[in-house]
């Protein structure tokens, strides 16, 4: 809106004839302190204020003042009740409200936010007010006031009815709140159960992962698998190893395949390795070649050893001797098994 349009809108503004959006724009402009618009506002405000003076004069019921005074007295101590309006703020605009905190409210909206005991107090005050009014009505104005008294009784009945309705609404809300709480508790219980199930599934998953890892490790290393592959190989050859003087009860069988260069050694009744020693398998050719080392633990009667071996077309025999751990290139220890091809 241009300034001219804003200024033109002031006559409509002061009597509440602007649309909400236009009123808000003008409110904002007036807050900027525009002198010419404020001058126009004052002039047209005076017109708006004068309009009700042209109405036919109708005095309020004589008992209204007594009722206000009685209600005011009964609400002492409850002045700090906070309540806001559910009703829309209607025109004229904010500047025309002339109030620092324009709190629009209806009796019904006001009562919605009031606790039961205050409603009860208000009803009691209304009854007390009716009694007071009845006393005041006993005056020279009995005829005039009897109509008003009837009206106020009707109002009291209406207020009681309204109070009952509010009570009913309050109870409905409490019921709804209770249901919502129960629903929330059920949801929380369901959530907790699902969480437990999730934790359980995660634990199971961990176990399965561990088992899978173990299985894969075992599968990668298992000599049985290697043996199975070797036994299915058509070019595999076998040799028997016999125990030496150092271990007469010991024996062994040696399988090997030239093509894949895999060898498999199965031993029986080898003594357990003393600390710092290990058994070493040798290919005996012109000079011995170490194939690998293995340990036999205490109580073990058999041992399976699989190893890739170097090419040994000229090998005549195999032997297993007990050597210092990490021993040298030549056999230095006592032989325990020996075979010849």
């Amino acid at each position: 809106m241009t300034h001219g349009e804003l200024e033109d809108a002031i006559p409509l503004y002061v009597i509440g004839a602007l649309e909400r959006s236009e009123r808000q724009v003008l409110d904002a402009h007036l807050l900027s302190g525009c002198p010419s618009c404020h001058s126009a506002l004052r002039e047209f405000q005076a017109v708006a204020t004068a309009l009700p003076f042209g109405l036919d004069v109708v005095s309020p019921p004589r008992l209204l003042k007594a009722s206000i005074m009685a209600a005011q007295a009964s609400t002492v101590g409850h002045d700090t009740m906070g309540h806001t309006s559910d009703l829309p703020r209607l025109g004229p605009g904010k500047w025309m409200e002339h109030v620092s905190q324009p709190d629009s409210r209806s009796t019904i909206a006001w009562m919605n936010g009031v606790p039961k005991w205050i409603i009860g107090s208000a009803v009691a005050a209304a009854v007390a007010g009716s009694v007071a009014m009845a006393w005041i009505a006993h005056d020279s104005h009995v005829t005039d006031d009897s109509v008003a008294l009837t009206q106020w009784k009707a109002q009291a009945a209406s207020a009681a009815s309204r109070s009952a309705e509010l009570q009913r609404q309050l109870e409905e809300r409490e019921q709804a709140l209770l249901r919502a709480r129960e629903e929330l508790q059920r949801s929380l219980a369901d959530t907790a159960e699902l969480k437990d199930q999730l934790i359980q599934r995660e634990a199971e998953l961990d176990v399965l992962k561990t088992q899978l890892d173990l299985y894969e490790k075992r599968r990668a290393r298992t000599p049985e698998d290697e043996l199975a592959v070797l036994l299915r190989t058509q070019t595999v050859k076998a040799a028997v190893l016999a125990g030496t003087e150092a271990a007469r009860d010991a024996s062994g069988i040696f399988l090997y395949d030239h093509r894949t260069r895999k060898a498999w050694l199965y031993t029986l009744n080898l003594p357990a390795c003393p600390a710092g020693t290990e058994y070493r398998l040798w290919l005996l050719n012109e000079k011995p070649v170490s194939v690998g080392a293995f340990r036999v633990g205490k109580g073990e009667t058999s041992h399976l050893f699989v190893q890739s071996v170097p090419d040994f077309p000229g090998t005549k025999a195999f032997s297993v001797s007990l050597e210092p751990a990490g021993g040298g290139r030549q056999p230095a220890g006592v032989p325990y098994l020996r075979s010849s091809l």
Partner: protein
């Protein structure tokens, strides 16, 4: 309580409201005596229902007493504040729709003679300044074209925007805006001329 006959509604002093806000019982009583009739007439005109009008007045005066609403001297005269507060609250109720049916059944033709005789105590709203203002605004309103007067009444007493009035009267919005603006300007001129006459030379 009977107020001073020369104490006018239209010239309520800010000091009176200040005393009310400080909790002075007599000041509150005087404020009601001065303004009650005008505000009730306004509420009744808008709401068209005596019970609702009385209920609204009770609500407003109690809020004033409890300081739930506050007068700001920088934004107009006390009576302008009271009138605007009453008018806005009444329109709020009217738009809330709860009293439309009652309004139809109990509509009053702007306060009939019988109504006034039953309700009006002597001494209310009869100060010379108030009567002069009343005479002035009635004369100025009577001088307005009926279409302009109707537009003003629909906006001010029925709480309708110019767009609402436009659709009710089946007239272009700009026409309604112009009617309201012209009417307000004429009323303003009438008030200003009266002020100029009353300024001593």
């Amino acid at each position: 309580m009977r107020q001073d006959p020369e104490q006018a509604v239209s010239t309520i002093e800010p000091a009176l409201l200040s005393r009310v806000m400080k909790g002075e019982h007599q000041a509150f009583s005087l404020l009601y005596d001065l303004s009650g009739t005008l505000l009730y007439s306004l509420a009744l005109k808008i709401l068209g229902n005596r019970e609702e009008a009385a209920d609204l007045l009770q609500e407003i005066y109690l809020e004033i007493r409890k300081k739930s609403v506050r007068y700001d001297v920088g934004r107009g005269t006390p009576i302008a504040w009271l009138i605007t507060l009453t008018r806005n609250r009444a329109v709020d109720r009217l738009r809330a729709g709860s009293i439309r049916a009652k309004r139809r059944s109990a509509d009053l033709p702007n306060g009939s003679t019988a109504e006034r005789a039953a309700d009006q105590p002597s001494g209310s709203f009869d100060a010379r300044a108030d009567q002069e203002l009343r005479r002035l605004i009635l004369a100025a309103a009577a001088g307005l074209p009926s279409a302009q007067r109707e537009a003003i009444e629909m906006a001010y007493y029925a709480g309708l925007s110019y767009a609402d009035i436009s659709s009710r009267l089946n007239q272009p919005p700009e026409t309604v805006k112009t009617r309201i603006k012209l009417a307000m300007i004429k009323l303003r001129e009438a008030l200003q001329k009266d002020e100029e006459r009353n300024i001593p030379s």
